[in-house]
């Protein structure tokens, strides 16, 4: 089974960057690819970001959902190529007329999509979600919101594992997921959700006791043990991002 789209611990340059700097890059890049409507620029961005994965030692085939997203990008591109009528004709196959505008638009939209996907993957794979939450709290996010994120991150894999157990328990008692009709599947799903709900209530009760027992919510603010220091590399990365955004704005003017 492929690993989920989760943080992969490491010591690369990207791993060491401040989580909020990486977050700023993700937001900045996403904004830029929508601002700069140039196929060449977007394609370059997508290719450069794709090159980051081998540098991180992560193969594309090991990422869950990656193939589906790349296929979606190809489909987006193909639809533009097939259904854009404007521009000089490059090729005609039966009723389909391929134009230069269609190809450029296809490349632009597909690479824009891929840039956002690659940037998001890079961010998620190299950013410890706990560190991100703590960094956000130390930057002003109310700590109750921050810990909503942290506890969700803790509980999601636990619920995922429980769901698998309940599913297996049902299979073992003759629920034929492996050959049921749609109607039977809906019936079985009901049986899947009830144990999950009961379990979730129990876990939330235990967690509430654990948090209250350690004075969570006692004061309107709290201190933090973790220190997120901003290093030279972080400042350089931020300057680079600002430069890139300015260049993007200049390009579009």
């Amino acid at each position: 089974m492929k690993p989920g789209l989760t943080y992969q611990p490491g010591k690369s340059f990207l791993h060491r960057l401040h989580p909020l700097v990486k977050f700023a890059w993700l937001v900045g890049l996403t904004g830029l690819v929508f601002l700069v409507k140039d196929p060449a620029v977007n394609l370059t961005a997508a290719v450069l970001l794709a090159a980051v994965f081998p540098l991180l030692g992560i193969s594309f085939s090991s990422l869950r959902g990656f193939r589906l997203l790349v296929s979606t990008a190809v489909l987006i591109g193909l639809l533009q190529v097939l259904f854009t009528g404007e521009g000089a004709e490059l090729l005609t196959v039966g009723p389909v007329r391929v134009t230069d505008q269609g190809v450029l638009r296809g490349v632009y939209l597909a690479s824009r999509f891929l840039t956002v996907v690659f940037a998001s993957y890079t961010f998620v794979l190299t950013t410890d979600p706990g560190e991100l939450a703590y960094a956000l709290m130390q930057t002003g996010l109310p700590y109750r919101w921050g810990f909503t994120l942290v506890t969700a991150l803790r509980l999601v894999p636990i619920f995922e594992g429980e769901m698998l157990t309940v599913y297996r328990a049902q299979l073992a008692r003759g629920a034929a997921y492996d050959r049921s009709s749609v109607k039977e599947l809906f019936g079985s799903l009901r049986g899947l959700l009830l144990p999950m709900l009961v379990s979730a209530v129990g876990r939330v009760d235990a967690l509430a006791v654990s948090m209250e027992g350690r004075c969570f919510g006692r004061y309107p603010d709290r201190t933090y043990f973790r220190v997120h220091r901003t290093g030279q590399a972080d400042w350089l990365a931020l300057i680079g991002l600002v430069g890139l955004i300015l260049a993007g704005v200049y390009w579009t003017l």
């Binding site: 690993p3 328990a169 299979l171 073992a172 008692r173 034929a176 009760d205 350690r214 004075c215």
Partner: protein
């Protein structure tokens, strides 16, 4: 320190009171053991002493609980939390953060401690539980025993005066259980802390012979210093398989991988009718994976699993399920129907059996389990022990040839465990086979015909009971054997 006087508590909507006229006193520095059957109110009493019963739950309390002369109901929960720490059953449920450091300082950060002070306390807490080496680890990479030690360190960090342990070892293997008990005993001897320990595994505490408060049906029956009774269950193992009976299940050089990790390594074994096999081994040794592989829920990367001579790979899980019953660890994960009766007959109906085929048998089993008056109730309204009985009956109702049981005795008191074990012995005496993952050395020697011991995915012991126990002893795993613990 603690004085409970005529304390009664009824949860909102509950028919009966969970606690009835409880009287209890605990002196500073004392070590008290709280025991009693599952569902008798031990955890409710723990929640009351820690104050959470009044801050987190709706209910009707009467009587008094005092901490150093102050009524606990009048003390703001955050103030009370400074003095009382509660360690719950499942460490997984009480972690808030994702990393060991964050978890231990969590309570200190909430109390707005400065960083330097936290640094010193973090180091002290980790040292107190002997886990300095875990400081930079993520919670999800810890073993069950390590998690429980970190949960304890997180409570020790704010130096409470009383620590309540609510069955802290129920989900741990014998090795981790021994480590946790050693830690508790060391704390008691060296720190002067007041400790209240709720436990079923009394054998581990025999050496210290603490004062025992014994509960039943919401009441405290006795609270004297008395020797922990050495009561054996009245059970007899099945006769075992005949020499010539053919194998029901056979595994040949089976290896299984989960992700990139090899969880089972070249397992070969045969299971015959009439065998009651106990499968032992540390947490993470591959026991559950082995059961899931036999059931066809996991596919081996190499080797062959066959059932009655047919290779498992050629059968669907839903077909194998008719012959092999599987019961998991948590009762709540396997209750799907809207009433006790519907739950008990869920599987035989799914398998297309006629009502006459299973109705009598199922009714008799439910009667034996004391559930005959609860047939229309929702399964979630049953007690923990009753749910577990229903889980087993829901599988016995269609009479599979083999039962695979994954730690079904966790959290069960002796009476309930004895009932379940007798059902298994009866099942095997009628020609069935059982493989049960069960660590409790009080139980498995009474009923098993054969032992398997897995470690690191490899089958290190596969022998008849007595010989198997000798081999486990030679492996230096005495904590898995009766009397071989603290």
């Amino acid at each position: 320190m603690i004085r409970v006087r005529d304390f009664t508590y009824r949860y909102r909507g509950a028919g009966q009171a969970a606690l009835r006229g409880v009287d209890l006193e605990i002196a500073r520095g004392e070590f008290v053991l709280l025991t009693g059957p599952s569902g008798c109110g031990k955890s409710t009493l723990a929640l009351a002493l820690a104050g959470f019963l009044f801050s987190q739950y709706d209910g009707e309390p009467s009587g008094v609980i005092q901490f150093d002369g102050q009524d606990v109901q009048d003390i703001p929960i955050y103030e009370h939390a400074d003095r009382v720490g509660l360690i719950q059953q499942n460490p997984e449920n009480q972690f808030v953060t994702l990393a060991v450091e964050d978890e231990i300082v969590f309570g200190l950060e909430n109390r707005r401690w400065p960083r330097e002070k936290m640094e010193a306390r973090l180091a002290w807490s980790l040292q107190a539980v002997g886990c300095e080496h875990l400081r930079h680890r993520k919670i999800n990479t810890l073993s069950g025993g390590e998690k429980q030690k970190i949960a304890l360190a997180a409570v020790l960090a704010f130096e409470p005066e009383l620590i309540i342990f609510d069955e802290p070892t129920s989900s741990l293997d014998p090795t981790a259980t021994r480590e946790i008990f050693e830690l508790i005993l060391e704390l008691q001897q060296t720190s002067g802390l007041t400790l209240l320990v709720i436990e079923h595994k009394l054998d581990f505490l025999r050496r210290v012979n603490p004062r025992q408060a014994v509960m039943k049906a919401g009441e405290i029956l006795t609270q004297d210093r008395q020797a922990i009774p050495d009561e054996s269950l009245d059970l007899h193992p099945p006769e075992g398989p005949g020499d010539r009976s053919p194998a029901l299940i056979s595994l040949e050089e089976v290896s299984v991988e989960l992700g990139k990790e090899q969880v089972l390594r070249g397992i070969s074994l045969e299971i015959r009718p009439g065998e009651l096999i106990s499968l032992l081994g540390p947490n993470g040794s591959g026991k559950t994976t082995l059961l899931l592989t036999v059931m066809g829920l996991l596919e081996p990367v190499s080797g062959k699993v066959s059932f009655s001579g047919l290779e498992a790979g050629s059968s669907r899980t839903s077909d194998l399920a008719r012959q092999i019953g599987l019961v998991f660890q948590s009762p709540d994960h396997q209750l799907f129907a809207s009433s006790v009766w519907e739950e008990a007959v869920f599987a035989p109906r799914r398998f297309g059996m006629s009502e006459t085929e299973f109705t009598d048998r199922t009714l008799k089993l439910l009667e034996k389990a004391g559930l005959e008056g609860r047939l229309e109730d929702h399964p979630y309204r049953l007690s923990y022990g009753q749910k577990r009985r229903l889980n087993l009956i829901s599988v016995l109702s269609y009479q599979p040839a083999v039962l695979l049981l994954d730690e079904i005795f966790i959290g069960q008191d002796r009476d309930n465990a004895s009932f379940l074990l007798q059902l298994l012995v009866d099942f095997v005496n009628r020609g069935g086979s059982v493989i049960m993952v069960n660590h409790n050395p009080d139980y498995y020697p009474l009923v098993s015909t054969r032992l398997l011991y897995l470690d690191g995915g490899a089958l290190l012991v596969d022998a008849l009971l007595e010989k198997g126990m000798d081999e486990i002893s030679r492996l230096g795993r005495s904590e898995y054997l009766p009397g071989g613990r603290l």
